[in-house]
């Protein structure tokens, strides 16, 4: 079936970002002042795409003989990726100057990675998933080491590349086995005949390899080893993007594959797999985070434990918990981007001032930043009525509905542990006196990102139905 005009029309967001990338490259080459325009150009691109996607959420179509699906869940994910990227881009403007990595390529790479994520979330064919994944990952490898003069950034980039490539190897091998046993790469086909195919041990092995590869990408225990080093070494804004939109993209693939569990009754084995990685990630992530003194490293472990909470939703695998994961991803994105933006302001040159001690007495230096980081920490800890609480609530709800009450109990217990290190930040910010003197440089872009994130954290907390309504209607 040849593609028609209508299909191209529906493909608008992808085309817009693609054209945006080309335009940005031309702009970058042709103008020396491009660095000043590129962030705002990218932000406009992202915001426009986000608005387009959310407005067309009900127009769900499968395009190109089942390669892509636009609208529905994909549209929600596209909105999330673009909004996150927009926030990251505007908070990068002043940060990159400080970080001595004010390159135009930065913005182009972010645009490409977002395109990759969008392809991943919309893909309905394993090869499309793989293309999207690689587009996103390769951009991230470069972004992690965007400042090539920094040893920590180089280390992060190399580690991320090696382990990421390793994970990709798993995925490719998995895909090979899946294709070899079934003769198809269409996710629709795989999902519908999941139970039948599962009688073949090689298919199950392929799926396991595929899932393990993506478990790397969402940063769950025991595939989490790369996370702390990469999150710590990368530029703070890049970490903000990797840990939110990047994670969401990997989760979107899980969610598509999990249709098998929701609608067609996949073997119990896969449920147990997710239950185990969920429990391990929550507990281990929370416990290790307690002893971290570096804010970025602490948030890296917190990111592992949050991946665990979201994986509860995968284990539960009912409609409610899937909706819960998507809500959680959105809530997590805004809390985390907000937190990383605050860190990026406090952070000094040469990786200084990212320790928790530098946050001591922040309240006297900048009451605004103090209030904001506390808000994000309370939200990450899951204190109601902030966005993070509802994310947890929905996945726990799904888990209890699916008779996984034990997993919900493990979840709440690790939440109690995690409260300790989140409020530790608040202790430093409000209860301790400043130990080092430095000026907080205000930045219009970053402050805007922080305010928007905070507003979204509050709105999603007080009126969770706005988003959950859209999500539930998109999950049929």
């Amino acid at each position: 079936m040849p593609a028609n005009n209508f299909e191209y029309y529906l493909l608008m967001p992808y085309i817009v970002i693609g054209v945006g990338i080309i335009l940005s490259v031309i702009l970058e080459i042709s103008s020396k002042k491009s660095k000043e325009y590129l962030p705002w150009f990218s932000a406009m691109l992202f915001v426009g795409t986000a608005i387009y996607s959310i407005l067309n959420v009900n127009q769900s179509f499968v395009l190109f003989s089942g390669m892509l699906e636009v609208g529905g869940k994909s549209a929600i994910f596209n909105t999330l990726f673009n909004l996150s990227a927009a926030l990251i881009v505007i908070s990068s403007i002043d940060y990159l100057k400080k970080y001595e990595a004010n390159f135009g390529e930065y913005y182009i790479l972010i645009q490409s990675s977002v395109l990759g994520m969008m392809v991943m979330a919309s893909a309905r064919d394993i090869f499309m998933v793989f293309m999207g994944l690689e587009l996103m990952s390769i951009c991230f490898y470069v972004l992690a080491g965007i400042n090539r003069k920094k040893a920590s950034a180089n280390e992060a980039s190399l580690k991320y590349f090696l382990l990421g490539a390793f994970a990709t190897g798993f995925i490719v091998y998995g895909i090979a086995l899946i294709y070899g046993t079934t003769g198809t790469t269409s996710i629709q086909n795989l999902v519908e005949n999941f139970v039948g195919y599962s009688s073949n041990i090689l298919f199950v092995l392929g799926m396991i390899l595929f899932f393990i590869g993506f478990s790397f990408k969402i940063a769950t225990v025991p595939f989490h080893m790369w996370v702390p080093d990469v999150y710590q070494g990368s530029a703070t804004t890049v970490t903000g993007l990797m840990s939110t939109a990047g994670k969401a993209a990997a989760f979107s693939v899980f969610i598509i594959m999990l249709n098998a569990v929701v609608s067609y009754g996949a073997p119990h084995f896969f449920k147990s797999y997710f239950a185990v990685i969920a429990a391990l990630s929550m507990v281990i992530g929370s416990i290790i985070a307690i002893s971290q003194d570096n804010m970025k490293r602490m948030l890296a472990y917190s990111s592992i434990s949050h991946a665990g909470y979201m994986a509860i939703g995968l284990a539960a695998g009912n409609k409610f918990s899937i909706a819960g994961i998507i809500f959680y991803l959105a809530a997590y994105a805004f809390m985390n981007i907000g937190a990383f933006s605050v860190i990026s302001i406090v952070e000094g040159k040469d990786d200084s001032r990212i320790g928790i001690k530098s946050f001591a007495g922040l309240q006297s230096k900048s009451p605004f930043l103090a209030a904001m980081i506390s808000l994000f920490m309370f939200a990450l800890a899951g204190i109601p009525p902030l966005a993070g609480f509802f994310g947890k609530y929905y996945v726990f709800f799904g888990a209890i509905q699916a008779d996984l009450t034990w997993l919900a109990i493990v979840g709440v217990l690790s939440s109690v542990i995690s409260v300790y290190f989140y409020i530790r930040v608040v202790v430093y910010v409000y209860f301790k006196n400043s130990e080092e003197e430095f000026e907080i440089e205000s930045s219009v872009g970053t402050y805007t990102a922080i305010i928007v994130s905070a507003a979204l954290v509050l709105i999603l907390g007080f009126f969770p139905d706005i988003l959950l309504g859209i999500i539930t209607s998109s999950i049929k």
Partner: protein
């Protein structure tokens, strides 16, 4: 059901004013103080209007206001009061302005944020007492932790960080398990009634049908959360730390209202939602309550720090309340409710008085004081009244509560033994020992410490004005308790009917 929006206005008053506080400049200290006091006073007036609309002869929830909040979870903003919660709401709005007055001198640092926290806290406490949706209740229950955490952590004493973090994590631990139980109940209700619900009135019908084995777990999860807040022995260890490190205003609110949220939760949720388990475990819980009464009293006796002494006396007094609730007779539960109010008033007054002395001398150890009767006669008299009220002298409020609890426990068929009452009664005697002994050491005799002579000045008008309203109620409850007992009588009966309807299943 009588519907009214007055409770929503009452809830909104501190929320709106707490946001308004943030628009003041941080150095407009005086203005901010008056604003905080004024708005909490305004909230008190609103609560009096609510009380005027409240109908004592109606045993159901009244003044209800219902707005759908989260459709997908069938959660609604649903508030309403019965006699018990009305009384506790009045206690909250009554104590908050007084605590604001008490901070005039004590809080110098970042007054704007303090006022914000206090008003935010008041909103949280009011929300807890008026929620008729378990989910909404949980949100207020948790959200209220944040301001209290800041109050202890920013304006507290030396070990404030330890105390505030301990307070936060202890409470969070209990309440998160309650969250699992709440979700479980909502999911279970879907299997019974066909839709998720967290509405309390609907859950009252669902709760008792939970299979026996699971009900015990549900009851346990709710109970643990409330028992930590009360705090019931042996979960009380956060309390002395929090009390001692908190500023006076924090201690007053903590003792006066926050602890009551635990006992209120037992009465509102644990008993009616899981009546079979409540009856089954009542004797065990009562044993812990009695241990708490005696243990709290004995530990108080050996304290050298006045504030710590009052803090441990809370463990003892709250033990009475828990005992009264789980004895499940009209008298004992009525007594427990009155005792909640009493403890709020008398312990609040004691903390205020200790705070007044501390503001002047910056010392709280009993040994530092001695013979202050001659130096500060008014202060000594006020301290005497507060202590006698806490001891339970007939004619003052403490007596009514403790007497009713002991009487009710004595003839309780759920507990089935008079020994509970006998042992608990010893707590009353111990209370007299530790409080009067402290009074003797602090107030009587010769002036032991000459620093006191120029440091310790008598109470000023503001401080007298804070305590007079408290003492009015101390006397009122002591002399004519019917005003208050009548208010709660029908509500207590309703709760007990809900429980006794299921008692047959257990006693066979």
């Amino acid at each position: 059901m009588i519907t009214s929006e007055i409770l929503t206005y009452l809830l909104l008053t501190p929320i709106i004013t707490s946001v308004l506080v943030l628009f003041f400049k941080n150095d407009q200290v005086k203005l901010i103080r008056w604003f905080g006091f004024g708005s909490s006073l305004f909230a008190f007036v609103v609560s009096l209007i609510a009380y005027k609309q409240f109908d004592q002869t109606n045993p159901l929830f009244q003044l209800t206001h219902h707005v759908v909040w989260i459709k997908s979870l069938n959660v609604s903003y649903s508030v309403g009061v019965d006699g018990i919660s009305m009384l506790l709401i009045l206690l909250t709005t009554f104590l908050t302005p007084l605590t604001f007055l008490s901070t005039w001198k004590a809080i110098e640092k970042n007054v704007r944020m303090f006022t914000f926290s206090m008003l935010f806290l008041e909103a949280g406490m009011l929300g807890v007492f008026m929620s008729l949706d378990v989910f909404l209740f949980y949100i207020f229950w948790e959200a209220m932790l944040i301001p209290m955490y800041f109050i202890i952590g920013i304006w507290g004493g030396e070990r404030r960080i330890y105390a505030s973090v301990k307070f936060f994590i202890f409470t969070m631990f209990g309440s998160l398990l309650m969250l699992v139980a709440i979700i479980w109940l909502a999911v279970y209700s879907a299997s019974i009634t066909g839709f998720f619900t967290t509405n309390l009135i609907d859950l009252y019908k669902v709760g008792p049908t939970v299979p026996h084995q699971i009900q015990a777990w549900m009851f346990g999860a709710f109970f643990l959360s409330f028992a930590i807040k009360v705090p019931l022995f042996p979960l009380h260890t956060w309390l002395p730390d929090a009390h001692v490190e908190a500023p006076t205003a924090g201690s007053v609110i903590l003792a006066g209202v926050l602890l009551k949220m635990g006992t209120y939760g037992l009465l509102r949720f644990c008993l009616p939602l899981f009546p079979q388990s409540a009856i089954e475990y009542a004797p065990i819980i009562s044993v812990f309550a009695v241990i708490g009464i005696i243990y709290g009293a004995l530990v108080s006796m050996v304290q050298t720090d006045m504030k710590k002494l009052v803090a441990y006396s809370s463990v003892s007094h709250l033990g009475f309340v828990v005992l009264g609730i789980f004895a499940m007779t009209i008298e004992s539960v009525q007594g427990a409710v009155i005792q909640m109010i009493n403890h709020g008033l008398s312990t609040g007054a004691l903390f205020l008085l200790v705070g007044i002395a501390y503001e002047r001398t910056h010392r709280r150890d009993i040994a530092f004081y001695g013979g202050i009767a001659k130096l500060v006669p008014v202060y000594s008299t006020f301290l005497m009244i507060a202590i006698l009220s806490s001891v339970g002298l007939p004619g003052l409020n403490g007596f009514i509560g403790e007497f009713l609890i002991l009487l009710g426990t004595y003839k309780s068929s759920v507990l089935g033994s008079a020994w509970f009452s006998v042992f608990a009664a010893s707590g009353v005697i111990f209370a007299a020992v530790y409080l009067l002994w402290m009074y003797q050491r602090v107030v009587f005799g010769k002036v032991t410490n000459h620093e006191l002579e120029h440091e310790l000045t008598d109470m000023n008008t503001r401080e007298i004005l804070i305590l007079i309203p408290i003492f009015v109620f101390v006397l009122w409850i002591g002399i004519y308790p019917s005003t208050f007992l009548k208010m709660t009588e029908l509500s207590v009966q309703t709760v007990l009917q809900q429980v006794s309807a299921y008692s047959v299943n257990i006693i066979k």
